[in-house]
Amino acid sequence: MKYKINARLNLIGAICSFIVIVIIFQLFRIQNSEQYIELSEKADQTYTYEKRIVYPERGNIYDRWGHLLAGNEKVYEVGVLLQYVKNAKAIADTLSIIPDVNYEKAFETASLEYGNGKNIYGIIADFLPSGVIDALSKIKEEYETLNPEGEDPDLPSLRGMVWYPHLQRSYPENTLAANVLGFYKFRDRKNGEGFYGVEEYYDDILSGPPVTVEIPLDPYMIEETPTLPSGASLVLTIDREIQAMVEEKVDEAVEYYKAESATVIVLNPKNGEILAMVSQPRINLNQYWIFEEELKDTTPFNRAISETYEPGSVFKILTMAAALDSEAIELDEKFSVGQYFEYYGSYIYNWNRKSWGEQDVLGCLQHSLNVCLAKIAVEEMKADTFYSYMQAFGIGRRTNIDLGGEEIWPLSVPGDDGWYPINLATNSFGQGVAVTPIQMATAASAIANGGKMMKPHVVKAIIDDGEYYETSPQVLSVPISEETADLMNTLLTKSLEGGEGSLALVDGYHIAGKTGTAEVPVESGYDSSLSNVSFVGWGPVDDPQFLVYVWIEKPDPEIGYWGSYVAAPVFHDIVEELVVMLNIPPDAVRQSLYAAGSSHDQTD
């Protein structure tokens, strides 16, 4: 009996053990079978991870004092999770109240059959502000109370309608500095990129590339989210207040003179920092998609860097600086300035078509005499010297300013197909040669800055990863010596005080400058009824802290034709406020403060 019981127990034990061993064996076998591995991998791919494209936050753009010019704001995408939609009509009805949402399209999206290949989620509207989402949320709640779970098909239900937040580029100043900033095509969320200005030039820095990350859905497989660096932020050299003031003056000038457009650049000649850059038209960057309507035909986004034109007499300061620096002429040299100058069968006239008799260097500049400058270029300097100086001044070359869309017009030199000997004569006073306003302002800054031409730039610092990196000013070239620059400063100050551009003068400040009036080239030659007027000036002459370049395109000749009457007053109006904004005291006050400061230092 005892043995029977033992045998039974042993048998049961053996069977149980066998079953356990078989189960364990099967577990190992199944878990290591090819089918299991294949199925497991498939399940991992399908159900374990969710692939998500992550867009790093685009860097901010600030003005030189830290005011935000471009940032990011939260907006929402509204869509439908088709699996949960109960009443497509109610969804379409509700969303069609939003501007830009089409009822038919919304209804079609919400009515898609769930599954059926890829139909899981459909987007109906995007870039909606939080206010709209609050309203939608309220309506959804009301409908849910009225029709719980959306069970009654005759009652409205917004079940299935969802919204997801994301960031959108935002420009809090709207049109301010639009030409400098450019815009980011935020409506194209997958392939958005910067266009024009800083947004284009620094696109790679501002936005880290979108990254596809795999987010584990299995909570056991939780992983650290990958480090996605936000885009770097930029601090511009632009001063918001100065920019706004200059924009106001430019708009007033265009309206008053009924001009086609106007462009003004304010820069610091000592380091090339652009304090303001204004051109017309300017678009509201928050509605960048209408820019093609605003900028008709071939109108450039930023005339200051993208439109070339014949600058006229402002160019004479470069010719005269080159002539003095190359010692082709002496300061006290006299020139016989007749009514015209004949060269290779062409005639060069003065602006008033009159003879000016004997003139010295100052007289030639003061009265802006074409004949004098043509003679200096042709008879004294010769082509090789003239053009090598113009190239040193950057004419025909990019300034490489850090803005997207800089254009140039090549400088024709002897030997080029389009160059004729008469070009030397006309180029000397700024006709037959085309520049952008930034090229002209940069070239003039060499005279203001003791002969050193600084590279113009709009980015003062880059903030990356919390670190603040200042950019360093760069010397583009040194076209003339410091002595020549000083001499030119003296000449241009005197010429302004007693010459054609006296309307540019600002009480209390010594300013150097030059007016310019150029006929507008047309297919058949030049249209003398239209003009491009300009003025370049800087100050205070003994310590230049600003250079202002004004170009007004085709003012109504009945209101004003000459640079001295159109561009010079605009320069005056700008500088009058600029000196206050830059904290530049009148010269007399400044010199007395310097004296007081130095005596204070000595006392210390």
Binding site: N60, P219, A232, N583, P586
Partner: protein, 155 residues
Amino acid sequence: MAKQFVQAYKQTPRRKQIQRLGLYVLPVITLGTIFALYLIFSAQAATAGLEIHAYLDAKEELQRTIANENTQLAWLLSNTNMIKRAEELGFSQISSSNIFYMVLPSYPGRTVHLTSPAPDGNSEGDIVLNSAYQQSLGDFLRDLLFSNSNDEAEP
């Protein structure tokens, strides 16, 4: 005394059966305990994992909200609004002739002050997950039994 126990067992096969049954049930109970522990730890790990997911989502939302708030602040402080506000308060543009200039030797001049902070570069990294959240009970026991040092990762 020991002999009496042996004798008692031999005379009552029931006790022997219980002893054998106990021997069979023991591994079952052990396995059950291990499975129970496994379930408890797994459930805790899953809860922690879900919480981390929720925190990561909340962090993303916070970053968006911060960016949004900064931009909204910039809208309020925009040049147009500030000029309007200044005019409402009775301020007007001054000319240089009406300004009294003076030298302040220790004044460093105007400095950059970001009205809205730049987006964080995330270089400090995200959460560093404790390895316990990612290991099974088997991994945990193996680490505990076979690793020489108590090298469990610290968060």
